[in-house]
Amino acid sequence: MSTTDTAPANGAPKAAEGAPRPPKARPQTSIVPGATIAGRALVAVVAIMTFLASLTIGAALAVRSTASHWRSDVTREVTIQIRAGDRKLTDAQVQQAAEIARTTPGVTDAHILSTEETGRLLEPWLGAGLDLGDLPVPRVVVVKIAPGAAVDFAKLRRTLSDRIPTASLDDHRLWSRRLGAMAEGVVLTGVVLLVLVGLATILSVVFATRAAVATNRAVVEVLHFVGARDGFIAAQFQRHFLKIGAQGGVIGGCAAALLFGAIVGLPRFGLVGDPEDPTFLGWLNPGIWGFVGIAGAVLVVALATALTSRITVYRTLRTIQ
């Protein structure tokens, strides 16, 4: 204090002992101390929420793509069944049905299942070594459809029933429709889940932000007194929450991506049975869009966390002017 005799120029002192330091960026302590924010707990909440959201997105997309896959599979093949009757007559009817099918536009092939093939199909139910000749087993013609072709099944069905009264056409349409409805249902459920998970995340961030502002009330007051605008103060909080959102989002998103990655990848390495085994979770492959969706969820979560905290700080500041 020995230099107080030199007057400052409107608050700016003249040069005193010690030259100014060279202007090199020195790390600035953050104005809102990170330790005053319930960071860990919020990271965990955000991670869990992102994980759930990612699972929902991945599973919904997987179900949708699998369903459409199955639908195109079942609709690429129709069957004509002919009730068993007199052997000779039935044989002729089967030939005729195959002929009608082959001449229908869009059909690539019509294959008459031999008695042996039919037997093999029925083996799981009736057992081996059974003489099907003794049983009134219907004969089957498998009709293959060109991919994307729109076959006039109504006309085919009419022609068949006109010429062969014992023939019936199964175009799997009911199956296909049911699969479609189920996939839509799953996607819709997924959207509802995403909305709920999003709301829960936003609420958690709102509470955490309010608590952080309350804890840092003294800091906020000093910032106000030295002339900080609300926008500047909000940015000090938002910085922390963006980090928390990004951390939680990445943890949750990575966990979900790893889970789906394992589902998709493990069978390729032969670690889990046969990939064609229908009980295997291979149908849960979310596809490339699923992984893109998970990355999107992480981004949205991080930004939503930051934005929510910003808006909450603004609102809270209005009450402690």
Binding site: M1, S2, T3, T4, D5, T6, A7, P8, A9, N10, G11, A12, P13, A15, A16, E17, G18, P20, R21, P23, K24, A25, R26, Q28, T29, I31, P33, A218, V219, E221, V222, L223, H224, F225, V226, G227, A228, R229, D230, F232, L317, R318, Q321
Partner: protein, 222 residues
């Protein structure tokens, strides 16, 4: 601008209590120096809070830098406060920031780069005798050092109006005399100073205008 500050029939009560300040009318001119005095509990801090917009009057009119304070939105309040330097009775230093960072805070909230004001802040810290305490956290500082850090923070933005609430209340008489000299020097360079104190001996050292609060009323002795 005729007045820096003008109070007209200002009254203030906290909550449902009786009025702490009644019919207060006075003005402060640019480049002026005045003491604000009165016994402890008279309402000095309350008047200061009205002056830097931390409290709004329950009645009456306050004009600050030509603006009616009741018409200001939060951003305008922030901008006006940048023209006022405040030294709090209890310092209000942020304990997690170093002395240097505390003093630099008014420049940092303007969005300035740290490198752009480092020289200025360092110089001011040397000038108040805290050159070797820059990187220390406030809890480690002595009462007098905290006082000087608080004063430096109030001065760094080159305010037109300096409010100091009992700035000598926590220091020994020698340092008190030096701080008073500092405020007088500051005033000579053009800053209006309002120094609240209940220390009669301090006021006797400098012949200046006195605003005295007694029983909620304010009396001016030019």
């Amino acid at each position: 601008m005729e007045h820096l500050v003008r109070f007209e029939n200002v009254g203030l009560r906290y909550g449902m209590g009786s009025e702490v300040l009644k019919d207060v009318t006075f003005s402060i001119a640019p480049k002026s120096f005045q003491f604000l005095t009165g016994p402890s509990g008279a309402g000095k801090t309350t008047l200061m809070r009205l002056l830097f917009l931390s409290l709004r009057p329950t009645r009456g009119l306050i004009t600050l830098f030509g603006r009616d304070v009741s018409s200001l939105d939060p951003d305008e309040v922030a901008v006006l406060r940048r023209r006022i330097g405040i030294v709090f009775q209890d310092f209000r230093l942020l304990d997690h920031l170093t002395t240097y960072e505390n003093v630099a805070l008014p420049l940092r909230v303007l969005g300035k780069e740290e490198a752009s004001y480092r020289g200025e802040v360092t110089e001011l810290l040397h000038w108040v005798g805290l050159g070797d305490r820059m990187d220390v956290l406030p809890p480690v500082l002595s009462g007098g050092e905290k006082q000087r850090a608080a004063i430096a923070r109030a001065l760094i933005g080159r305010p037109e109006f300096l409010l100091a609430d009992e700035p000598t209340g926590n220091v020994d008489p020698t340092l008190a005399r030096r701080l008073l000299r500092l405020f007088i020097e500051l005033n000579r360079t053009g800053t209006s100073v309002l120094l609240a104190t209940h220390d009669i001996a301090l006021m006797d050292q400098y012949d200046a205008r006195r605003l005295v609060i007694a029983d909620g009323r304010l009396y001016v002795y030019d």
